[in-house]
């Protein structure tokens, strides 16, 4: 009997990623060097680490995935229970084909298509994405993504100022709906402050719709930013008249939930100059809030001052159809500090998932998806409206979310629902401290009647505990 001593003792788990592990000496020698240290003679010793990095040891694939399953497994996935949280990001079903195609190495492991001859696949896919978005929002121009919905909105504001400032009677000024969540507003402020843009707010009526009278104050400014549906889920017919009120030299910027456009009119068709939005519901899971992709579309007026990468259709030397990045002179790698934006790496792959989802859905599929969201929302509204102790805050049309008023603190109510295995919605106190008894309830295509009934039952229980009589 033979015993094998410590066969794995010397094994280095990172060897599977480093093809030249074990060939260092050979390679160094051919360069006339002796040790790895010889490669670092140019780094002065006073800036060198003296010790090994004080970090944990390397792990193998098996250990990493085991830890990932353990740690991520301890997170509560929305799909595991009735879940009514949305507030800008929406749990949806992404068809299996999307994942299987987007993870093909040719897409996944490519860089920005600087060499168009070997990047036609991604370039054409992005040109098609531009077309899909353009059709979706009803505007002729779209870029191939910004970081997320918030930066898209922020860049729309600075873009509007660049375009309109010269003629604006309210120079360096933009108006934004007061309902915009503070997190998003904060992004806008950060992006606007460098150009010294003043952001003023637009009031809404108590029913959640825009105050069109006050809107008149915005005329002559560089731009107005509104959302449809608005952050409380309300579909506001008033937006159709906004462009007439603010006039041609003030950009109407509309933020959209893209799935709603399967049934709701495209803002480009009621005068929007720029349409932005969080693309996530088309093609991507929520993923803890990123990666997402920001939609940015506009009229030709904004084309040469807009942010982000754009693909154009061209020809090759044989006259064959070909695609390439175009209008790059707006961008940082050419225009440097005069660029329209600093964006370089964007969200192409997530936009590609969006394109794939859109290509699968087609116009009918998008309509169906919008209907399912709308129907689930209406169904939830009806059931919660007749739930003891619960009130709908706005008697309006909603797309896929709406506010309810609960007896007592929204925070406590959500904690109670959570203890009973329900993610009951979004605590509106987070956005608007004054609304401390309001919850934003989201119902999507993934919401079932059973989910809604469970929510209703638990809300009724909570109301009872709060002393609302049955």
């Amino acid at each position: 009997m033979d015993s094998i001593t410590d066969p794995l003792g010397e094994m280095n788990v990172m060897v599977d990623q480093l093809p030249n592990r074990g060939r260092e000496a050979e390679m160094l020698q051919s360069m006339g060097l002796e040790t790895m240290e010889d490669l670092f003679v140019d780094i002065p010793s006073e800036v060198r680490f003296k010790d090994e990095l004080p970090l944990r040891g390397p792990q193998s694939e098996e250990e990493i995935i085991a830890d990932a399953r353990r740690l991520l497994g301890s997170n509560v996935a929305m799909g595991g229970r009735p879940s009514f949280i949305g507030a800008g990001l929406y749990r949806n079903y992404v068809p299996a084909a999307v994942f299987q195609l987007v993870t093909r190495g040719e897409f996944l492991t490519a860089y920005t298509p600087y060499q168009p001859e070997v990047s036609q696949g991604m370039l054409q896919a992005m040109w098609e994405f531009q077309t899909l978005i353009s059709e979706l929002v009803g505007l002729p121009v779209a870029n191939l993504s910004l970081y997320d919905g918030s930066t898209a909105a922020a860049e729309a504001l600075t873009c509007a100022v660049r375009v309109h400032n010269r003629k604006a009677t309210q120079a360096n000024t933009v108006y934004v709906s007061e309902l915009i969540p503070p997190d998003k507003m904060s992004v806008m402020e950060n992006y606007c402050q460098g150009a010294e843009i003043v952001i003023k707010t637009l009031k809404h009526h108590d029913d959640g719709t825009l105050n069109l009278d006050e809107l008149k104050l915005a005329a002559g400014s560089c731009g107005v930013y509104l959302e449809q549906p608005n952050p409380l889920g309300i579909l506001d017919e008033g937006l159709i008249t906004v462009k007439d009120i603010i006039g041609a030299n003030t950009a109407l910027i509309v933020g959209v939930q893209p799935i709603s456009l399967g049934i709701v009119e495209a803002p480009g068709h009621y005068g929007a100059d720029i349409v932005v939005g969080e693309g996530q519901p088309l093609g991507s899971p929520v993923t803890g809030g990123g990666p997402l992709y920001g939609i940015f579309a506009c009229t030709k007026t904004y084309l040469r001052l807009m942010p982000g990468r754009i693909v154009g259709r061209s020809i090759d030397v044989d006259g064959k159809e070909a695609y390439c990045l175009t209008l790059s002179t707006r961008e940082q790698h050419i225009r440097r500090h005069r660029a329209t934006s600093n964006i370089c790496t964007n969200e192409t792959l997530i936009a590609l998932m969006g394109a794939m989802h859109m290509a699968l859905l087609g116009p009918d599929g998008l309509r169906d998806l919008a209907h399912r969201n709308l129907a689930a929302c209406q169904c939830a509204k009806e059931i919660l409206a007749s739930t003891k102790g619960i009130e709908l805050v706005h008697a309006a049309h909603h797309f896929n979310e709406f506010s309810i008023r609960v007896p007592g603190s929204a925070k406590d109510c959500l904690a109670y629902l959570d203890e009973n295995g329900i993610i009951g919605g979004f605590d509106l106190t987070t956005w608007y401290p004054q609304y401390n008894d309001q919850i934003l309830v989201t119902a999507t295509d993934q919401t079932s009647l059973r989910d809604i009934e469970a929510l209703s039952a638990q809300l009724a229980m909570w109301s009872m505990h709060q002393g609302v009589s049955a």
Binding site: P54, P58, A77, L101, L136, D318
Partner: protein
């Protein structure tokens, strides 16, 4: 040729849906808002959609396809298990606004990543919120801006940037409202300390620089540069795009920097996906930490109640920095990318230094091999090093200026010639300070064999006659694309029948 918009098919969808609640509830919206005309999207079935995107993918080049020596972009192998991990429901199906006790796993990973980056960069606090390198730059410069505002030093309106800097550096600083002061590099590509000293003054908010620099050279004078800027009262900003060269060997902290961004997607291999997503965390020294965008992941001992749902001996929670600039992305950054990069980090752990060593080994070996092959074939005179040096770091530059002058062969011609050999071309014409520049970064995940073969093929391209190279590439899905035509005849979307 497959075209998404040439599908004149039936009233079809590639994704049939259950009616769901639409069957029990008649959906309604305000009449005036009802969409009048559907988007002219294609009507494909699933089989057609799968074939279209498969076809497109075959017209694209990724690391999986072949060697991708794109300088400054760190196109290393993306470990495959990371994609599996990123699709677990515990990351794919969580909402950033879920309560902390729903997200202990995520928070602990965020904490671990913040800590790891702090250790590696020698910084006091890291935030993972910025979603790309450029956004990291913007975020850090915003923090510096607020820092000075709080100190009342509002006269600091300038940011110094070397002329070899990446375009995002000046663009990001300008977006914050700073004036850009560009300083020229020395003839050898290195930073000009005298030029720096000449411009650094009480109007200086920061200097932005990367080290190793964009020529792949380590700036040995970096501490002196930090000294100059600090003496002038400014802050030192480190562009971390080249971090792959120095991990575990040195750190921005040791070099005297106050702030740094990481191109996590490069150094820690989030797949680049044809242009993104990325992840651009930043790390700062303590004076800047109160200004970071929030929330950050923090930890403390759990309460008795909490410890049952804790993932380890800590309770993880979000924490808002005191004077936070607010947010740069609406949520917590690109969490999915952070998870992949965490998985990548775990593979190396305290052996990250080995990774950098191999990145530098491969770059130097390739540089050596190209010179060796060129000498063997007698074409050494056709190019020169972009900068003279004994050792490069993780990348190096070559200038094709001699070939251009002697034979009319430009860097772009060589690039296209390499495409015909089955390679992605190196970065060309960047940095601008090197004429006819090719910037080559092999990364640590390429084998010696690949490097040797590339060196041979590179030299073969140099031996090709100019006419052939001007006509290259010929083996690619399309031949040289007319970028001027694209700009002159803007066609940014399918024209449909009603050509615009």
């Amino acid at each position: 040729m497959s075209h998404l918009f040439n599908h004149s098919g039936a009233e079809n969808t590639g994704y049939s849906q259950p009616q769901g609640l639409a069957s029990v509830n008649e959906p309604s919206i305000p009449k005036g808002l009802l969409r009048q005309q559907s988007a002219r999207w294609p009507r494909l079935s699933e089989p057609e959609m799968v074939r279209h995107y498969t076809w497109l993918s075959k017209r694209n080049f990724g690391i999986d396809t072949g060697f991708y020596p794109l300088g400054s972009c760190t196109m290393k192998h993306n470990p495959r298990v990371n994609e599996v991990i990123a699709q677990l429901p515990g990351i794919a199906d969580i909402h950033p606004h879920q309560p902390e006790h729903h997200l202990q796993g995520l928070l602990s990973i965020f904490y671990e990543m913040q800590h790891m980056l702090e250790v590696c960069a020698g910084m006091d606090q890291v935030t993972l919120q910025p979603v790309a390198g450029a956004q990291g730059e913007f975020t850090a410069i915003r923090c510096i801006q607020e820092y000075f505002r709080q100190r009342g030093e509002t006269q600091r309106t300038k940011v110094i940037v070397p002329d070899s800097a990446h375009g995002t550096n000046p663009a990001s600083a300008a977006m914050c409202g700073f004036e850009i002061v560009e300083i020229p590099s020395l003839a050898d590509g290195r930073m000009d300390l005298a030029a720096l000293a000449a411009v650094a003054d009480e109007t200086t908010a920061a200097m932005m620089i990367t080290n190793p620099n964009t020529l792949g050279l380590f700036e040995a004078d970096i501490k002196e540069a930090s000294q100059i800027v600090h003496d002038a009262g400014g802050q030192m900003y480190y562009d971390g795009a080249n971090f792959n060269a120095i991990l575990g060997i040195t750190s921005p902290g040791l070099m005297g920097f106050d702030a740094v961004h990481f191109n996590l997607h490069k150094t820690f291999s989030q797949p680049h996906g044809g242009g993104g997503p990325g992840s651009g965390p930043i790390g700062v020294k303590s004076q800047l930490a109160p200004f970071l965008p929030g929330p950050l992941a923090a930890r403390r001992s759990p309460t008795a109640q909490e410890s049952s749902s804790a993932v380890d001996e800590y309770w993880y929670h979000w924490h808002q920095p005191e004077h936070s600039i607010g947010k740069v992305q609406q949520w917590h950054g690109n969490a999915g990318a952070v998870i992949r990069c965490w998985a990548y980090y775990r593979r190396y752990g305290n052996g990250l230094k080995t990774m950098s060593e191999h990145a530098v080994l491969n770059a130097n070996y390739l540089r050596h091999a190209i010179h060796r092959e060129a000498k063997k074939e007698g074409v050494s005179h056709l190019f020169v090093d972009g900068a003279e040096t004994d050792v490069a770091k993780h990348e190096f530059t070559l200038s094709m200026q001699p070939a251009k002058e002697a034979l009319g062969i430009s860097a772009m011609d060589v690039a296209k010639g390499l495409l015909d050999k089955g390679y992605m071309a190196p970065t060309v014409y960047f940095p601008l300070v090197v004429p006819e520049c090719m910037m080559i970064e092999p990364t640590e995940t390429e084998s010696k064999d690949t490097l040797d073969t590339f060196a041979e093929q590179f030299v073969q391209v140099l031996q090709t006659d100019a006419e052939t190279l001007h006509a290259a590439p010929v083996t690619t899905p399309v031949r040289r694309v007319d970028e001027v035509y694209a700009a002159r005849n803007l066609c940014l979307r399918h024209p449909f029948e009603d050509a615009e």
